[in-house]
Symmetry: C2
Subunit: 154 residues, 2 copies
DNA sequence: AGTAAGACAACTAAATTACTAGGGATTCAC
DNA sequence: GTGAATCCCTAGTAATTTAGTTGTCTTACT
């Protein structure tokens, strides 16, 4: 049930872009540096987001990435769907085929549906703008540092 | 964000055991046959559930598996935690370390926390008994068949 | 004793994840 | 119009996880 690092990195990059929204494109080195990850890897993720029309690019010197729309209009759902492929916890309750041929004989289906509904609620209702605002406000209250949250624990 | 087949198979097996609760042990061949999967694979899952004290076993002829407690007292959370290892969507919001050292610098953390809270709500509040009851009632209303929900879609 | 069951360990094939490498195409600044 | 900055794209790869299979051993009912 883990969220992939793709999703975490990509989502944070989108939040970075939301913070910079309206101020021109942000380059890959800056975005990757913000999270301390390789440019090559983040680039792949951003390309998916471009395909999905969430970000736009400006090539050449002084180029970079920027959001195609107001972050207030951009749901986390849309971003994660592009990064993760799908936000369905099991294929048979995804948006594409909410009906499974053995639905009537699957004892766990009611649980899966309930869980998926709650997850979708959060993902659809949370906008990138909210996350960006939370983050900038929190940073304003102190403790500035890099946008990293990927340590290993035991 | 997918639930593994481990979890799906294991959870359904537990629901099967809940339906049979109080009627003596159910053998591996019966449980595996119910889902149309191999005995060897399901056995591994059941062993995890035994380690976690969710199921108990009776060896020898006429033996099998049974729940250690009333299914009404058994949450889906507990079952999935044993099967999945953890039900945390990202390590840094798991039950073990709800605090990440870069928590204050992670722009996506508020989302992760909200999502995890909603997921835990569902998993903690849903009991195996509820799922078992739903299933038996639905079967009583018709359309009996095997407990399979694992087709591939496109 | 024979057989029906679970216990356990080890191995494996396939898929996924998380990258890395490297060359190509644009565009800006000078 | 050259050079540097930048995105574009493909391919490869190592590590991990997933989803099993196989085989031997132990236990206990009949």
């Amino acid at each position: 049930m883990k969220l992939s690092t793709r999703s975490r990195y990509g989502l944070k990059a989108v939040i970075d872009l939301a913070i910079a929204y309206g101020t021109g494109p942000v380059s890959l080195p800056v975005l990757a540096g913000s999270q301390g990850i390789s440019e090559g890897y983040l680039e792949q993720l951003l390309r998916e987001l471009k395909k999905g029309n969430v970000v736009d690019t400006v090539r050449g010197a002084q180029g970079g990435y920027e959001l195609t729309c107001d972050p207030a209009e951009l749901s986390v759902q849309r971003v994660l769907n592009l990064l993760e492929g799908s936000t369905a916890i099991v294929d048979c309750v995804g948006t594409l085929h909410h009906n499974c041929t053995s639905a009537c004989s699957c004892s766990a289906r009611p649980l899966f549906l309930k869980l998926q509904t709650r997850i979708n609620d959060v993902l659809e209702c949370t906008t990138i703008r909210e996350l960006a605002d939370d983050y900038t406000q929190q940073k304003a209250r102190g403790i500035p540092s890099r946008n990293i949250c990927d340590q290993k624990f035991e």
